[in-house]
Amino acid sequence: MKIILRVNQTDFPVEVKTEEKLLTVLRRLGFLSARSGGCVRGECGACTVLLDGKPINSCMLFALQAQGHEIETVEGMGERPHQAWKETKGLEILQQEFVESGSVQCGYCTPAMILAARALFEKTLEPTEEQVREALSGVLCRCTAYVKPVQAVLRAAEKIRNGIKALDHQQEENISRYEPKMVTIDQRDETAMIGKSEIKLDAIKLVQGKQAFTADWQMPGMLYAKVLPSPYAHAIIKSIDASQARALEGVECVLTWEDLPRVVHSTAGQSDPIPGPLDMFSLDRKVRFVGDRVAMVAAVSPEIAEKALGLIKVEYEELEPIIDMRDAMRDGAPIIHDEEEYVNFADSDPSINLAAKIRIDINDVEKGFAEADQIFEQEYVVPKVQQAHIEPHVTLTYWDEDDRLVIRTSTQVPFHVRRMMAPVLGLPVKRIRVIKPRIGGGFGNKQEVLIEDVAGHLTIATGKPVLYEMTREEEFIASRSRHPMRVRMKTGIKNDGTMTANEMYALSDTGAYGCHALTVTGNTGQKSMGLYVGDGEYRKKPNIRFYADIVYTNTPPSGAYRGYGVPQGYWPLDRHFEHITRSIGMDPIEFRLKNCLRPGEYQPFSTAWNEGREPVPEIIQTVGLEECVRQGKKAIGWDEKFGNEDWHTIKGKPHLRRGIGVATVMQGTAIPYLDMGGAHLKINDDASFNLMVGATDLGTGSDTVLAQIAAEVLGVRTDDIIVTSSDTDTTPFDVGAYASSTTYISGTAVKKAAEEVALKIKKRAKVFFEEKETNCAVEDIVLKDKMAVAPNGESIKLEQIALDSLHWRNQEQIMASASYVSPNSPPPFAAQFATVLVDLETGQVTVEDLIMAVDSGVIINPVTASGQIEGGVAQALGYGVSEEMVYDQRGLPREVDLMDYHIFRADEMPRIEAIFVQTYEETGPFGAKAVAEIPLDGAAPAIGNAVMDACGANIFDNPVTPEKIWRALKKD
């Protein structure tokens, strides 16, 4: 059917199918800023367009319904100010503010937010913060906590009101900036680019909604993949008949377990050898959770592929499932992995449903308990939660002209994808190329090599390009999630608050497959218990025990989720400590600081554990925790609130009480002697540089940070560095974006490569200086402002040196490659504070403030780093109060969409603030440590502690839901 759609004031005649949604047709017309969050219920708002001036979800209308209406997308707004000889009108103020404020993290939701704000401006240019939040309430963002987008909209309105143009910085003096609070306790280098809030390199394209994400690439003849999920938690496929599906017009291929080679593998995107069991197949004749794969279909449209799924006839023999992790190792429990190809790792034992086992004893915990005046024991439970990145998993595969398989995929680990997919698809590594475009958020879930095999098999079978984009429901039932655990704590304390021994036992649920089973749970103990060593003589010989059993169940597999096991450790540990301090009548902050790690001490776990590899004892050099506590206390008003009865009560509302809580936390920075990153750098004629890195920017801004590091060394501007990341054909190896390693590991590799390039530039500069009779040593030449400068002030432009090296004499390509693997893992530290309001009659808890003061070493880019903290804290807020994935006895999920799995909207966020305490970490590039994961660790226990402070309810299981508080209060 032919219709005319009017988009951005232009008529587009277009042929549509009757059932096509407006979203689909707009994307086909090239308006890619309308994105799909895989929704079926209009939940995410990523597909926002303005229809007659109002923000609507374009997935909720047929294209036919939009005829005769005015549609607006961000493609109709501003563009980059100069496009060669063509002057453009430049970015609109709103777009510019989103860029400058750091509102663009992954950028997947950005066009939607900009449009929502634009519609608001049609109503008022003097919006209150509440109005802005309301305007943005239809667009979910999982990266920013909406902090910077709200600021950007308010500031854009202010600028428009005051008649300030988008790029007119001189007139902006009276308008607040976006910089977070920074306190420096040790910073050594004089730097030009480090510590500057440079705008993200990819922000300008993302505010224009340009082609950036995997699903934005369309290819001629492309097919769409769908996967048939298992309706049973545990079953054998007795028979499968796909003949009707195969016969459906438009279906090009249906694959079942009978069609594929059986290659046992793991989906955990980790270095070789993967530290976990090999226990899964692309398709198997056994299904192990509701949502497990049964068959794959490729068809000419998603609708036909979907219809074909319904035509596949499967006969199952149901088996008894294990849903509760406590049942996994009981006598007579059904065995989930009885396949003969299963490959053990370390202590895994499928005959007792054990995926991994950890036994760590540091010194003598029994002696420590014997020396204690009091022993505290308690069990805590942490739930399964979802990463809920707004861009779903999506992969496009195709054969290139040399019959190499190209995998364009939204992944955090392109090099692991290439290595791990090779055997699964039956190709040598050299015949696979993996390209990572922009990623719409991953948070660990895209550290999984989850769906590349589906598209890959279907491309191999059909010879055609295949796109597989998961739906939101599939994300819930068939991707990965945070490991749920039951954690038992036992802690020995002397009367003065000295910890004498600390023991944790974690029963961890890896779900149906053992991805990340060992390493996630190892972190649970290592990075939480490792923070506390005790005081006095115990500092030298802390008594710590961490045991864990990681078991299989018939629930969706757990995996990597930002924080990687550590939030599961801090909920029990910090809640337990809160209980202890209140029981012994000690100040909670004093107790934590008395027993925590100090500079010059060993991270106790480093002497005993290294993710299944040889331990690497490590002395911790920088600990800014005390200053973090000081800053956090000040910002939240701890001294005025804690213990102040007046503050806790609300006049005229006896059913409400306020509470305040704190948690202190530590993360890691990369995995020592394992995580490796490479960088390649070369100069161009105009003294710009191409920086090729295998590191994976998944919205964190790491490309920008790496460019800043290179720019600092080379004395150029950040936008003189053109970053390519990542393509396994053209960029050097990098383990990928996980373990908070990019700035530290890849950043050091970039620094090394840049230093080598800088040396070559200086050597050439010396020749120029000598020609002008300026004699100086190479090491005395300084690179700055795009020039090489001799000690006497003589200078030469880098562009001259570039042209000289490429064209004039003794030609050479000035370039260098470097890689880095670290012997260290210097931890970041943080103090997380929370205030809450508790309704004593209903148990409802409202979080009012979340303030995190963080020691991440020197902060390379304050705005992007603070965005990481804010977004991470918001995810942790969900872990604290609302997020969990629940299954019934048959393994059927309660949450399959973003209505039931509620993530916070813009109009309900508490105040979130990040403060940086800068230490100088000698081993990091320019003194930097990690940022990205630590915000996940403290918010939930701080909220739990604040609830206890408010009303005495000591909740052992997160999230802290109204009914749990109500029950605790009833019991009292």
Partner: protein, 253 residues
């Protein structure tokens, strides 16, 4: 898939819609505004898009107002102009959905977990649809399996005030328990309760003790995966008390 649809029509009035309906009852797929899941069922070969049929208008009278079934939830909010309704609506949906979802399509999928529905039940409107042109009470309409039907208009009696109370895990989470009370023009108070998928009959309140009894009856078996009956029963009583207090306060004001 064969593209078998042969006609796409945008009738200009309800009368025209009814004529088309009489001629081809089985073959018509109605497009009644924005929907959570726009789908086209097999066998539907005439698409009747109702957006020009005058079903999104608002008519205000002394007795209340009538709003078209194709008006959006945001239009309804504007018409009701009630802080209580706004609170419920903004809890359930962000602005985009409010701007997109039509009343008709909302009602086709609403259940007792929806705070919006609890408000509407308390307001006791009459729903007119293609299947029920003479109107039904909202609850009867919801029990009539409205999927596939199209709401043409909803008639709201004038009311004095509406108050909404709900408890969720976060301020904008779907509530585990919700209670709405409306004071009608004759002074009568009408209460609707929700939180579970079931749609309960609202009740008229004579005294608060009656309300407590009614609420207890409703929630005594209201266990589901989200909350226990014990919790709901206790908290619903608190919420009822607060909703009534809020009505009182408003009256004094």
């Amino acid at each position: 898939m064969n593209e078998t649809v042969i006609e796409y029509l945008r009738p200009g009035s309800l009368e025209e819609v009814m004529r088309l309906r009489d001629d081809n009852p089985e073959r018509i797929k109605y497009l009644a505004g924005g929907s959570f899941k726009p789908t086209l069922e097999d066998g539907k070969t005439i698409i009747v898009d109702l957006q020009d049929a005058g079903l999104d208008c608002l008519e205000i009278t002394d007795q209340g107002f009538t709003i078209g079934g194709l008006a959006t939830l945001q239009d309804l909010e504007t018409a009701l102009n009630s802080p209580g309704f706004y609170q419920a609506l903004s809890t359930e949906y962000g602005l985009n959905v409010r701007n997109t979802l039509s009343i008709s399509n909302y009602l086709a999928q609403a259940n007792g977990r929806s705070p919006v529905l609890i408000c509407l039940l308390a307001l006791n409107p009459v729903v007119y649809s293609l299947e029920h042109p003479d109107g039904l009470s909202l609850r009867d309409f919801l029990l009539s399996n409205p999927t596939g039907d199209v709401v043409t208009k909803v008639k709201f009696p004038k009311f004095h005030k509406l108050s909404y109370e709900g408890v969720g895990r976060s301020p904008k989470d779907l509530p585990l328990v919700s209670v709405t009370a409306s004071r009608q023009m004759d002074g009568c108070i009408r209460v609707a309760c929700g939180g579970t998928i079931e749609i309960w009959e609202p009740f008229e309140l004579l005294q608060q003790v009656d309300g407590i009894k009614q609420v207890s009856n409703l929630y005594q078996n209201a266990d589901d995966a989200w909350a226990s009956a014990e919790y709901r029963l206790d908290v619903a009583q608190v919420l009822l008390r607060r909703a009534l207090q809020r009505l009182e306060r408003t009256q004094e004001a």
